[in-house]
Every structure is written in structure tokens, then in C-alpha cells.
Amino acid sequence: MFGGYIITVAVTIGIYIILAMSLNIITGYAGQISLGHAAFWGIGAYCSALLSTRLGLPFWIGLPMTIAITALTGSLLAIPCLRVREDFLAITTIGINFVVQAVFLYVPFFGGAMGIGGIRSPFSTSSFFWITLIFVLVCIVLDRWLVTSWIGLALESIREDETAAAISGIDVVRFKVAAFAIGSGLTGLAGHLYAHFMTFISADDFGFPQSIVILSMIVFGGIGTLRGAILGAIILGVAPEIFRPVLDYRTLIYGGLLIFMMRFQPGGILGDQSVLPKLFRMVRQRSPALVRSG
């Protein structure tokens, strides 16, 4: 239906959207800054690759197992994160990213510098597109359910004020772990899709710079909002393709874009307090929503 190039870009963006949504749960909703999200993604991808190449598990059986294992590992890695707050947390997550990547790179079980290849995908490229699209939609539904549930309310109140949340009856530790578990479960999905789409993965794909890219997506789009996560993933996912003709300046433009956005639209393109959504609200002349703010 589309050219192979377009499909590849589209699938990549679909995977980025899932990653951005999952980080948005941890950082946007629960307020736990994670600068090591690519580590969780890598855990998902490696888990999926190993299940596929070593155990020969088919796609649909590997999928729930990958999600479960990644969610579990994510909540385990959240334990060191529970001891620390704010900037200590941010840097601890960078640390986790470097350590996880080093394990992939240096432990022979994970294929070392060669990575893992020969992952078999049962689908053609274009059916992979449709599958990714369906998963993105499923994640959107999941996200909408989450923000309207008591879990979502608990996560957001922890983001607003941990102490105030605790004296309102919220078990902060439990919900932080829940945020990391749900978020990394979704990165497990993203890792599974990525491994099967690329059919070859290596530790380089999941480094700290990738974490920054994912974080930039949600900040760029408007942190704490689903629409922001999706739009951010699309824009920053497409940008490298658009700027391909000026390859030499691509990274510079990317860095400049981040500075420019933070300086002039720090809430992101679609953040609740940003210009576009305000205009939109004005045009719609909608009375302010009573419960949710945006």
C-alpha cells in the first residue's frame, strides 16, 4: 500500500508513541523524572529477542511474556528509585541506563557487542504497520482508562505533592512502583515490536541519548497529556527524516529546537498552559471542565 520507506518510518513512530506514552505515565502523571527510559525499552527488546531466538517462541506468545518480564524488572529497578527523590532520582535513572546498557554490552548471554540478530517476524512489513497501529490504539484506550481511574488520581496527586498525597491516604511507595510497572510494561510492548520489526538489536539502540529523545518527545508535546506525548513522538520521530537533506546540521537543529521550545513554550506544544490549547479552548468557547483541568 505505501512504500517500504514510509512504512518503516511509520512503524518507528508508532513504537516511539508507545514509548512516549509509557514515559508519560511515569514522568508526566506520577511526576517521577526518568532519564533512563531507554533502559526499560532495551530490557523489553532483549527479553523479546531472547525468547524468540533461544526458545523459538512465536510472536504472540512472546508478547505477554515480554510485557510481564519487563514490568517486573521495571518495578525491581524502581526500588533504588524509591529511596531517592527529585534530582537524585533523575541521576539514579541515568545510572540505571548506563548500567543496563553495559550489561547488554559485556555479558555474553546478551550477545555482547554483536547484539542479537535473526529474530523472525511472522508478518510482512505492511501488516506490521497495521499491528503497530492497533497496539497504539490499545495503548491510547489504556491511557484514557488510567487517567480516569483511582490509580491515575493517586499518581497525579503524588506528582503534585507526595506528602499531601500520603496524608490523604495514598500509599506513595506502592503507587510509584505501580507507575514504573505500568510504564515499563508498555515499554516491554515497544521493545517486542522493535525487536521483531528490526529483527536485529544491539546495546547501542538503548543508550542514554535514546532516553533523552523519548523524554524530549513528551516535554516537547506537552508533558502530562496524552495528546502531547503522541504529537511529540510524531514530530521528533519525523524530524530526522525531514532534515535528512541537511544531514550535517540535523543534530544541531535538534538541540536548538529543544532550547527554543523550553525558552518560549516550556509547557510543550500541546501542554495545558500553552498557546495552541488556549486558542483551541477559546475557539470552542467551551465552559471549563469541572473536574479535569484540560
Binding site: 514522568t27 523524572i33 533504588p80 529511596r83 531517592v84 527523590r85 527529585e86 534530582d87 537524585f88 533523575a90 541521576i91 539514579t92 541515568i94 545510572g95 540505571i96 548506563f98 548500567v99 546498557q101 553495559a102 554490552l105 559485556y106 542514554f208 533523552i212 523524554l215 524530549s216 516535554v219 508533558i223 550535517d248 546540521y249 543534530t251 544541531l252 535538534y254 538541540g255 536548538g256 529546537l257 529543544l258 532550547i259 521550545m261 523550553m262 525558552r263 516550556p266
Partner: protein, 285 residues
């Protein structure tokens, strides 16, 4: 053998401390993670090399670099961070990362992606001391870091400026109520921190005889591990953290020869220590 490793580790560690100090000073007054600090460090290396190519005198290059990088620091503070301080912490963090990425790219576009040599000889000579040989370059690193740290210590503990800086990092609002010009103190923190980073850039450039666009990448993140270890904002903690990481890396990798990347090691040490002291070695709640 162990003493030789010790000397190597100490040299690396003191450079780490030098880089991380600026980061800690900025964190102390503004509570932002100034990732682009490592960009200032790389900038220092390039400026130093540029000066050195015109006038091949190491000490002159060092001095001019420190002046230039402190300018760079003040400009960053004034035009990048100042407008972002009231916003959520993630905003200046992302801006800083964006700036760091952009700086690396600018170095690459201007100076090329190659490793440039920095063959400066400050004319100090090395020291042979039993089986330990402190090389010419190691001696240089020790000499410069120790004098810079001593100067910093003097300024921080013996002068009025240092007192004001301490008060400001403890509580900005109270300090400004007490009549301290906190604007100037913040600028001073950037000035000193960036000058130290620039000096570190020159030292590392000479020590490894190489200057390249991404030379700031590893220090950028390792310095974070170090300041966290030290307790975010604590100057003695940072020096301790820098030496600890430098020694830890060199000794562990040099003696036990574990097959693990040097750069992840800093973070492992950091995470383990944080589990026992969630506010770092010398940090307070």
C-alpha cells in the same frame, strides 16, 4: 604497581573533581542540573588549543581559557537559565541537554570531527619516586588542580564573598533578605564554576593529548554521578566524590580487570552508595 595505579587514579579523579565542582556550585545556588557544563569544559579545551596554536605557551593558554569559559558561563546563566528558574525543574534540564547537544555539534562543524593533538609542554618534568613514576602530565594535573582547589577553598572559607556564596547556597531567599546581592552571587558561581571547567578541559586535552567534539559526553554524566555521590551542592563532598570515582575506576579496572566499562562503574558505585545514603556522602536532607 598499585602505587602507580594510585597515582593514575588520583590524576583522573582530581580532574573529575574539577569538572564536577562547577556543576555542584551551580546546583548549590540554582538547583538545576547544568548538563551543558560539560560543553563549557569542551569549549575550554578548544579555546586553550586555539590560543596555544598562536602562542605556544601552556600557562597563557590556561589563563585565557579560564577567562573565556567564565564568560561563556555567565552568558548561559543570564540568557538561558535565568528566564527558566521559576518553571518546573525538567524545563531547565531539557534546555541544558539541548544546549549541550548543540554545543557538541558546533564544535564538530567548526573544528571538524577529528581528534586534535594538544602537545603542550608546561616544562615541569616528571618525578621518579621509587617504583612510582609521576609523569610530566600527571604532575601538571596535580599542580594545577591542587592550586585551583586551594584558591577555591581560600575564597570560600576566608573571604566575605565566599561567606555570601555559602549563605546563598544554603537558602537563596534568606540570603537576599540578609542583604546579599544574590544575582551577583549566582553569576559568581557560574563564573568560578565555568572557569574551573575550562581549566579542566585544557588539562584533559593536554593529559591525553587530544581534543575532540564529544570529549564532554562522558564527563557530563560522570560528573552527575560524582556530585550526587558528594551530596548535590556540597563542595567538599564533590572533591571527595571525584577522587573516589577516579581511584575506584582505575583501581578496580587496573587491578581486578573486571570486564566492565569504566563509565558504568561510576554509576554502580553511585547507586550502591545512594542506597545507604539517599542524600549522598556529605549531603543533608
Amino acid at each position: 604497581m598499585i602505587w602507580q595505579q594510585f597515582a593514575n587514579g588520583l590524576a583522573i579523579g582530581s580532574v573529575y573533581a574539577l569538572i564536577a565542582l562547577g556543576l555542584t556550585m551551580v546546583y548549590g545556588v540554582l538547583r538545576i542540573l547544568h548538563i551543558a557544563h560539560a560543553g563549557v569544559y569542551a569549549l575550554g579545551a578548544y579555546v586553550g588549543l586555539l590560543v596555544f596554536r598562536f602562542i605556544p605557551n601552556f600557562w597563557l593558554a590556561l589563563a585565557i581559557t579560564m577567562v573565556a569559559s567564565s564568560f561563556a558561563g555567565i552568558i548561559l546563566q543570564r540568557y538561558l537559565y535565568a528566564p527558566l528558574l521559576a518553571l518546573p525543574r525538567i524545563v531547565p534540564l531539557i534546555a541544558s541537554i539541548g544546549l549541550f547537544i548543540a554545543m557538541e555539534e558546533i564544535f564538530r562543524l567548526i573544528a571538524g570531527p577529528y581528534i586534535l593533538a594538544f602537545p603542550a609542554d608546561p616544562g615541569l618534568g616528571g618525578i621518579e619516586w621509587g617504583i612510582v613514576r609521576i609523569t610530566n602530565n600527571q604532575f601538571l594535573v596535580f599542580l594545577v588542580t591542587v592550586s585551583l582547589l586551594a584558591t577555591l577553598w581560600f575564597v570560600m572559607s576566608k573571604t566575605k564573598l565566599g561567606l555570601a556564596m555559602k549563605a546563598t547556597s544554603q537558602d537563596l531567599e534568606i540570603a537576599s533578605v540578609m542583604g546579599i546581592n544574590t544575582e551577583r552571587i549566582i553569576a559568581t558561581n557560574f563564573l568560578i564554576g565555568s572557569a574551573l571547567a575550562g581549566a579542566a578541559g585544557v588539562l584533559v586535552g593536554v593529559y591525553f593529548n587530544s581534543v575532540y567534539p564529544t570529549m564532554g559526553s562522558i564527563p557530563a554524566y560522570k560528573a552527575l554521578a560524582i556530585i550526587v555521590l558528594g551530596g548535590l551542592g556540597s563542595i567538599p563532598g564533590t572533591v571527595l566524590g571525584g577522587l573516589l570515582i577516579g581511584l575506584g575506576e582505575t583501581l578496580l579496572l587496573g587491578l581486578i580487570n573486571i570486564p566492565f566499562p569504566r563509565d558504568a562503574l561510576a554509576f554502580i558505585i553511585m547507586i550502591i552508595i545512594l542506597m545507604f545514603r539517599p542524600y549522598g556522602l556529605l549531603g543533608k536532607e
